[in-house]
């Protein structure tokens, strides 16, 4: 390492990457300095992931070159990148749950001796973990660790393998507030030792809290790079959206009026776990007409199971489910949907659409018998209703004949929402509805949920985004290990308290 802190470590010159007609990276010039924390910001599909995967040798660019420490680097695979000291933590961790922390780290070492002496590796882990705030028990099994701890293991893995440049793809997505803080202090400690860090995100606050320099990508190009001193939220938003700005919704207020009819009620609801799922334990939940209830929790604590239970995808093993005043414990999915329950999923392409079918056909699915006409379908009737629904939501109706998989993530989510809301559902279950959406798309979805609430629907919003939940919920529940760990009234939320309940590190106040 000839040069000191602040000199260029990695440089990308004229990177071009095409996927079919899509230009994922369009002549990207980009650099990382030694000892800096660099944030890569941009909306979905801006090309952030592609660029980071190119830097890690996971994807090969069509044009352009990577310069590492002043020399051209030929990164044909992650193996080449690791040999240079480049490491990456992917969004989905690459750990083996049944192995211990030590074993997972040992597996990754390039210089692993034929006979492994655990004490040596433990010593090496300790060498890093204590001074960098990455303390994890090396003998613990990975499946017993929280997501935050698993992330620490991923980082340790890279450090022990002598990585000096760390790339993290959306590292904060799965973390609760105090874990995010801990991650950023680890970043600071790493920076102090001369490591360079690149992290991807689309959360503005994090960028401003944790980065030295910020590069914004827009539609495959670099929209600009700012030093932290120059950056503020407005500047970043205008770079991300070409001068656009997000309408800041005020804190939504629900008229504290009459107690509406109960739309959904769970009493002591339990559900068994299958495979890697979380069992639901004695969940009590009650949503009234015109009420938006938020459910906070680290994903994997029963959110999916709760939403599946309400939708009828899994049976109750104990307890009662009542919908609109009637016992719905044994209703089929179809009957539940017909009674006026809609579902807005986190992953519309996987959970609510059939990728190969046209937009038109996808809009038909799940509408029950409404558009049956003999053996065929009343397509004009469907189109008319859906057109109305898109218009009410202020969305543009996509080309109906195109396969739905050709829509972008945001437009697909909008199409699913328009379908689900077309027939004025009385209960909307939304599972991470804004996850993966860019800032504008997320704002549109939130507005839509609030509007549905205001017009008398009941909304159950399951999310990991605490800010979103604090802003929107009339009441907030915290789900931990399949049980309701705490309940808060509007205006009574405290981020640290909710965060601790989410991670199980504190009992609920009574």
């Amino acid at each position: 390492m000839g040069a000191g802190v602040g000199s260029e470590l990695v440089e990308a010159r004229g990177i071009v990457k095409r996927y079919g007609n899509l230009l994922a990276n369009d002549h990207v010039d980009f650099d990382i300095r030694r000892g800096e924390i660099h944030a890569l910001l941009g909306e979905n599909g801006a090309g952030k992931s592609t660029l980071s995967k190119i830097l890690y040798g996971f994807v090969q660019p069509d044009e352009g070159q990577i310069i590492f420490e002043g020399r051209q680097a030929d990164l044909r695979s992650p193996h080449d990148a690791r040999a240079l000291g480049i490491g990456m933590v992917f969004q989905n961790f690459t750990l083996i749950p049944a192995f211990s922390v030590l074993e997972n780290i040992a597996l990754f070492l390039a210089d692993l001796p034929p006979i492994v002496r655990p004490a040596d590796i433990t010593a090496r882990i300790r060498g890093f973990s204590e001074r960098l705030g990455l303390s994890v028990d090396p003998s613990a099994l990975v499946r017993e660790l929280s997501i935050g701890e698993q992330q620490k293991v991923e980082v340790l893995k890279l450090l022990l393998a002598d990585a000096r440049f760390l790339i993290l793809d959306e590292p904060t997505r799965v973390l609760v507030p105090h874990e995010v803080e801990a991650l950023f202090s680890t970043f600071a400690a790493l920076k102090a030792e001369g490591y360079a860090i690149l992290f991807i995100t689309h959360k503005l606050q994090e960028v401003l809290a944790g980065a030295d320099r910020i590069t914004v990508m827009r539609r495959g190009r670099i929209a600009g790079t700012l030093e932290r001193q120059q950056a503020d939220e407005a500047a970043l938003v205008s770079l991300m959206f070409e001068g656009g700005s997000i309408a800041r919704e005020g804190v939504s207020r629900r008229p504290e009026s009459k107690e509406g009819a109960v739309f959904l009620e769970l009493r002591g609801a339990c559900a068994r776990a299958m495979g890697g799922e979380t069992a639901l334990r004695e969940v009590d939940l009650c949503i009234r007409e015109g009420e938006l209830i938020g459910v906070a929790g680290v994903s994997g604590n029963g959110q999916k199971e709760l939403s599946d239970l309400i939708q009828g995808l899994r049976p109750l093993s104990r307890g009662v489910k009542r919908l609109f005043g009637r016992d719905a414990s044994r209703w089929t999915i179809r009957r539940i949907r017909q009674s006026g329950v809609a579902f807005v999923p986190e992953d519309p392409l996987g959970m609510a659409a059939v990728p190969g079918m046209s937009v038109r056909e996808n809009l038909l699915l799940g509408t029950g018998k409404r558009y049956n006409s003999g053996a065929g379908i009343d397509w004009p009737g469907l189109e008319q209703d859906m057109d109305g629904s898109f218009r009410r939501l202020g969305f543009k109706m996509p080309e109906l004949a195109a396969p739905i998989r050709t829509l972008s993530g945001g437009n697909l989510q909008k199409a699913v929402i328009a379908r689900e809301l077309a027939h004025k559902p009385r209960l909307i279950v939304a599972l991470y509805p804004t996850r993966g959406l860019d800032v504008l798309g997320a704002a549109a979805v939130r507005e839509m949920l609030l509007a549905a609430r205001d017009s008398g629907s009941a909304v159950l919003l399951i999310s990991e985004d605490l800010e979103e939940l604090f802003q929107m919920s009339d009441r907030l529940l915290v789900l931990f290990a399949g049980a309701i760990a705490g309940e808060f009234k509007r205006g009574d939320y405290r981020a640290d308290e909710v965060g601790h309940l989410m991670t199980g590190s504190r009992r609920a106040r009574q």
Binding site: Q311, R334, G350, V354, P355, E361
Partner: protein, 350 residues
């Protein structure tokens, strides 16, 4: 506007040409590989293919035999194509065909005195029911998430001929030919009518009707939308309230029934009695037809014709070059390999 429409039409034609070219390439590669095998056993592949051409296109009889072979191929191909649209792989066309033949024969033998206009529909219904039951069992097991339908349909292929054997060696053994394991000959009213003094029979019309039915149901009806939804994304389909179990079992049963009709056609029009080996592997060939055709109806029609030629290769080589009939299995296996080899491309074109 008109230019755009013309351009779109042109593009559609180009797409079709590309598909046709791809079919052709598969067949050519397979035939080339098969030539090597023929060379290894010391036979002349050029002569073999020339003979095949002469015996099939060379005269009216040869050509009519192709159409005879097409009927069961079309039916068994539809029996594969329909479940594939719901995401199921039915490898059991052969067994379903045999069960259809068996139950249709039961009808023919039980009511020999009925007039044709009652007996033939009855036999068709029996044939359909036989195949339907044989496919519904794997359907139920699959819908209950117990066993994969690919395995059960395949294994049931080996059970069906044994049931037939039991009956033709036992209770149904014919009086007049008791030295052969076969049933008594059907009465005239149990025989499907043939046309033009050839063996082309009404089963071909039935097969074309089944193909039309397949296309109409899948592409034009509301059931078709739901079937394709389940096939395209079962999780989403379930979440959207489409009854997966009902559709899985019904589609399998209908598909099996269609394969069963092929069995009914064979015993009624071709064999005139129930015997072993009444299908030279039509069920398996039908699987290849459907797979190669990418389950498109026009493709199935074309591929059924091509496979009618290929299955006659066995007979022809037996006569002209003294090769066992089973060589045709090698050719079909080669085709299967080529098809599987280009599998990744197939998905995108769907």
């Amino acid at each position: 506007m008109r230019a755009a429409a013309a351009l779109r039409a042109l593009r559609q034609i180009a797409a079709w040409c590309l598909i046709a070219l791809r079919y052709l390439a598969v067949i050519v590669v397979a035939l080339a590989v098969f030539s090597l095998i023929l060379l290894v056993v010391g036979k002349d592949p050029v002569k073999a293919y020339a003979d095949t051409f002469a015996y099939t296109f060379g005269n009216a009889y040869g050509f009519s035999e192709l159409l005879v072979r097409m009927s069961p191929l079309l039916l068994t191909a539809v029996a594969v194509a329909l479940p594939s649209r719901i995401g199921l792989i039915n490898v059991g066309g052969e067994g379903q065909l045999y069960m259809g033949a068996w139950l249709a024969s039961a009808g023919a033998l039980a009511f020999p005195s009925l007039p044709a206009w009652i007996l033939l529909p009855l036999m068709a219904a029996c044939g359909f029911a036989g195949g339907a039951v044989w496919a519904a069992v794997p359907g139920i097991l699959r819908a209950k998430k117990l066993v994969n339908e690919t395995i059960t349909t395949l294994l049931l292929n080996y059970v069906a001929p044994m049931i037939i054997s039991f009956f033709i060696f036992g209770p149904w053994r014919g009086e007049e030919s008791s030295s052969y394991p076969q049933s008594a000959a059907f009465t005239a009213s149990a025989r499907l009518p043939s046309f033009f003094n050839t063996r082309i029979h009404a089963g071909l019309l039935l097969a074309l009707a089944a193909l039309l039915f397949y296309w109409l149901v899948v592409e034009k009806t509301r059931w078709g939308v739901q079937i394709r939804a389940i096939g395209g994304n079962p999780e989403a389909a379930e979440r959207l309230g489409i009854p997966l179990v009902l559709y899985t079992v019904s589609v399998m049963a209908i598909a099996g029934g269609i394969a069963g009709l092929a069995g009914m056609g064979e015993v009624s029009a071709i064999q005139g009695r129930l015997r072993q080996g009444l299908s030279p592997g039509y069920g398996f060939a039908g699987f290849l037809v459907a797979w190669l055709a990418g389950t498109r109806p026009a493709g199935i029609l074309l591929m059924a014709f091509v496979f009618a030629i290929i299955t006659s290769v066995g007979d022809i080589l037996q006569i002209t070059q003294g090769l066992p009939y089973a060589v045709v299995n090698i050719l079909m296996a080669v085709i299967l390999f080529v098809v599987l080899g280009r599998q990744p491309g197939r998905r995108e074109t769907r």
